[in-house]
């Protein structure tokens, strides 16, 4: 079937070309003789030319990866996405390691070890000695102090919330202080961090890409070119930022002096290709070594069939949820909310849109996150039960509600809404899809007035706090998510849980809160968490997904077999 199609298309197009006077015919014929050259040896040779002309780097033998949109900056203090560059150029004080069972733990990185005071307020980090930045400067405690200070003061800075809990952070942001009180340089290789109040997730925070450590001297000298001009953007990481042509490609070159040992890859070219079919064709023609299948969700089934041995996967660590605004009729009624939970066939949606790759979720913390709890109460698909609950609540004849679609959302989200609409119709609920442009959607949501919507929250760092506090931390938090959960006592507990020093107690409290919020109060419809899949070319060895909610990747540990 496929072959016939391509033949037919080829014939039609060739006919068109020949008939219309061999417009490009001369060129195509001339090139026909050397066909397959590009396919045979992958992207390496193709991109070599580009690398030569653009960044002065010979990219022969480099691995070729692809992104669907160019990054804004490699300065991670100014972006909340685009974490691939930070993952590879810089290191953080701590790292997350995922074992084969998908269980993650915090491990030392630039900080070799650390002590936490009994009250959970003081963290003392002992830094690794002999680490050098890519420009040859030594990594010392001063760089840590500088980095954290810059995060809170740099122009157009984001990610400041990662240090919210550090003593003196808000004073520094507001300008009433010049220094960050809570970060103290003890000696060249020791830093002491003091928190405002106990915050158990702090170590996890330190693994976030947003807290990558910069070189104080080089970064200060680079000014606003840091992250923009590859030559001045340095870190301690396994790769050096070597070239960037906007909308075309990014180039990373191996850091020979990397403190964990130089990477095996000589370098990486990251192509910027917006069109998903082009990405697919590039991969299949051997022009790509790595393809994030989240870019080509709809073609994933085909990839699994065609390249069963070339798929790498890991949990996405993000929860897709469906909201019900407590301020909108009739969602004040817990029976209605429970009916909604039962009326949506989440497994069917996961199957239809993602080929079942992932798992249906029943709470707040997705699979792969610390705090994920296998034993929580399950929600089952039960349209009859939903109807009964609606009747009990006095909505036996159903009601009309809004499904708020964000125009910038992916087609898959839109499709999910279309399916949900149909499923709700089956229990008598008339859900109408309303399309918003991105900014109106965001503003309405932040005003707490948005109707029901479906979205996904992916982990910024590995802790349940990052999820439950974001949505149910206090009145303001739940309002800007357009949930408007009303129980302040529960929210006080959510907030209080952040300070529980004993890890077991803390996780137990988070589990109890999840049970209360989702099962007793039916505060949202947990949908699913997904698996994140990559296709790798045959020559790629040792690629492992980074633990992270976002789709960035680390190239350290990869090698190419040739």
């Amino acid at each position: 079937m496929k072959k016939q199609l391509s033949l037919a298309l080829a014939a039609a197009m060739a006919l068109g070309l020949v008939l219309s006077g061999c417009g490009g015919g001369g060129g195509t014929a001339a090139n026909g003789g050397e066909e397959n050259t590009s396919a045979a040896d992958g992207g390496g040779t193709e991109t070599a030319a580009a690398g030569d002309s653009v960044s002065g780097v010979d990219t022969t033998g480099f691995m070729v990866d692809v992104v669907n949109a160019d990054i804004q900056t490699a300065d991670v203090q100014k972006t909340t996405k685009d974490y691939t560059m930070p993952q590879n150029i810089y290191d953080r004080l701590l790292d997350i390691e995922v074992d084969d069972a998908g269980v993650s733990k915090i491990v030392p990185s630039l900080a070799e070890d650390w002590e936490i005071s009994g009250d959970g307020l003081e963290y003392t980090f002992h830094l690794r000695q002999g680490v050098k930045f890519q420009n040859g400067n030594d990594f010392t405690a001063e760089d840590v102090v500088y980095t954290f200070h810059r995060l809170l003061t740099v122009e157009n800075g984001v990610n400041t919330e990662l240090l919210d809990q550090v003593k003196g952070a808000s004073e520094l942001i507001e300008g009433s202080a010049d220094t960050l009180e809570g970060v103290e340089l003890v000696d060249d290789y020791t830093v002491k961090i003091t928190l405002k109040e106990p915050f158990a997730a702090f170590l996890s925070c330190l693994t976030a890409p947003g807290l990558s450590i910069y070189d104080s001297e080089a970064t200060e000298a680079a000014g606003d070119q840091f992250g923009m001009d590859p030559s001045v953007t340095v870190g301690t990481g396994p790769f050096r930022f070597a070239g960037w042509t906007f909308n075309d490609q990014l180039v990373l070159v191996r850091n020979e002096d990397y403190w964990k040992g130089a990477p095996e890859l000589p370098g990486v070219v990251i192509k910027v290709i917006p069109d998903t079919e082009t990405q697919t064709m590039m991969f299949e023609s051997g022009e790509l070594d790595l393809l994030d299948l989240d870019f080509v969700t709809d073609a994933t089934d085909r990839f699994l069939e065609t390249y069963p041995d070339q798929i790498v996967q890991g949990p996405r660590v993000g929860i897709t949820y469906f909201t019900m605004n407590f301020n909108i009729e009739p969602f004040q009624d817990v029976k209605v909310r429970q009916a909604m939970q039962m009326a949506i066939d989440r497994q069917a949606i996961l199957d239809a849109l993602y080929g079942g790759r992932g798992q249906v979720e029943h709470g707040i913390y997705p699979f792969g996150l610390i705090g994920f709890h296998e034993g929580q109460t399950k929600i089952s698909y039960d349209p009859e039960g939903a109807k009964a609950l609606l009747a009990e609540a006095g909505y036996g004849d159903g009601f009309t509600m809004e499904l708020a679609a964000d125009a910038s959302a992916s087609d898959t989200v839109t499709m999910a809404l279309e399916i949900i609409k149909e499923q709700l119709a089956a229990v008598g609920i008339n859900a109408e899809i309303k399309n918003y442009d991105e900014s109106t959607w965001l503003e309405t949501r932040k005003a707490g007035e948005l109707g029901s919507f479906m979205s996904t929250w992916t982990a910024d760092f590995n802790d349940p706090e990052n999820f439950i506090y974001t949505f149910f931390g206090n009145e303001e938090k739940t309002k800007i998510r357009s949930i408007n959960y009303p129980d302040t006592a529960v929210m006080a507990r959510v907030s209080g849980a952040r300070g529980i020093v004993n890890e077991d107690e803390r996780l137990a409290e988070y589990q109890a809160l999840e049970e209360k919020l989702i099962h007793e109060d039916a505060a949202w419809v947990p949908m699913y968490s997904r698996m994140h899949l990559w296709a790798v070319s045959k020559r790629v060895q040792g690629f492992k997904p980074v633990w992270s909610g976002v789709s960035d990747r680390s190239y350290y540990g990869i090698s190419l077999s040739e």
Partner: protein
């Protein structure tokens, strides 16, 4: 016909239809050296044309400016996304001058634009002019190649169709030329890419770093214009062939093909300059799509970036820049045509 001394565009377009008598006149006009006498007139015409372009230019900037300012929502909030506190948003708004009255913002923008400064991109934190200038050469290369493709396909198809007027070959050639106009550009691009890069492997699937890589994008973009050119060539030739001087040429014993190709090309080349400028506008529209499909880092991509990331300065800069380009292109073509074609002067 022209009112207020300016050139009537519609009449101008009409006149740009190549006709044999005109070509003959143009030739004799140049050969006789008559254009020297016309020098002064041409100069005043040039000045007038430039003078009309200025209000259009201002209008274009104003139109874009207004359209982009009535976007719902606060641009800074949208641009910063989730992880930012309100104080930062306020600070950035102030820095970008968004708290100023619209009219102040407009004049500031125009003043900066006149100095070649289109502002700073919200998302990319860099100078929009620099981003555009970096991307510009790629779009120029793509457009020029595409124009070449369009002309080759268009003129050949047009000539054959005209010779075989209303016969099967006419329909076939016009049909295939029209195929490019009748598919969505991105589908044409995708199918070309699928067949010639993916299946036949004659070209790389994406990239724009070698002539070979540029061919497919150029065909995808040029084919779209080829249909228009083919139809124009055909209808012009059909007209030309009825003319006495062709009949004379034939009577003199010139072979038909020779007659047609010779005169047709001569006549088709005259408005080449004009058509080029006019095609520029359609090329730049099409480039938005072609560049996205083939991953060409050109100006069209910037416009898409601007839309997708809601980066107003980037979108605004790109649109203003391309529009200025088109106005300039038209101006140049117009002036060249003025020199080449005496009809306009006569009518004026």
């Amino acid at each position: 016909m022209p009112q207020n001394g300016e050139i009537d565009f519609a009449a101008f377009f009409h006149n740009s239809l190549p006709g044999a008598p005109r070509a003959g006149k143009a030739l004799s006009f140049i050969m006789d050296g008559a254009w020297q006498k016309e020098g002064e007139q041409v100069l005043s015409r040039v000045l007038k044309r430039i003078a009309i372009s200025v209000p259009v230019l201002v209008g274009v900037v104003l139109a874009i400016f207004i359209m982009l300012r009535i976007v719902p929502g606060d641009p800074v909030t949208t641009m910063m996304g989730e992880h930012v506190n309100p104080a930062v948003i306020e600070k950035i708004s102030r820095e970008m001058g968004l708290d100023q009255p619209l009219i102040v913002q407009f004049f500031r923008y125009v003043a900066n634009a006149l100095r070649g400064d289109f502002g700073t991109s919200y998302r990319l934190n860099r100078n929009v002019t620099q981003i555009i200038l970096d991307a510009f050469p790629n779009t120029v290369k793509l457009s020029l190649l595409a124009a070449a493709v369009a002309w080759i396909i268009g003129i050949v198809a047009g000539i054959v169709a005209a010779i075989q007027q209303n016969k099967l070959l006419d329909r076939l050639f016009m049909g295939s030329a029209l195929l490019g106009v009748s598919m969505p550009v991105f589908m044409t691009a995708l199918v070309l890419q699928y067949v010639f890069a993916f299946k036949l492997k004659w070209f790389p699937v994406s990239g724009f770093d070698s002539l070979r890589a540029m061919i497919l994008p150029a065909i995808a973009l040029g084919w779209n214009s080829a249909g228009s050119i083919a139809r124009m060539t055909r209808s012009n030739l059909v007209e030309v062939m009825q003319n006495d001087f062709i009949r004379t040429a034939r009577a003199k014993g010139l072979r038909e093909q020779g007659v047609i190709v010779g005169h047709a090309l001569k006549n088709a080349m005259l408005p080449v300059v004009t058509m080029m400028a006019l095609q520029l506008s359609s090329m730049l529209s099409g480039a938005v799509l072609t560049e996205s499909v083939f991953g060409v880092p050109g100006i069209g991509r910037l416009a898409v970036n601007g839309i997708e990331t809601r980066d107003m300065p980037l979108l605004q800069g790109t649109v203003v820049f391309t529009t200025i380009l088109i106005i300039l292109g038209n101006l140049v073509a117009d002036l060249l045509y003025n020199v080449l074609d005496p009809r306009i002067r006569e009518d004026g």
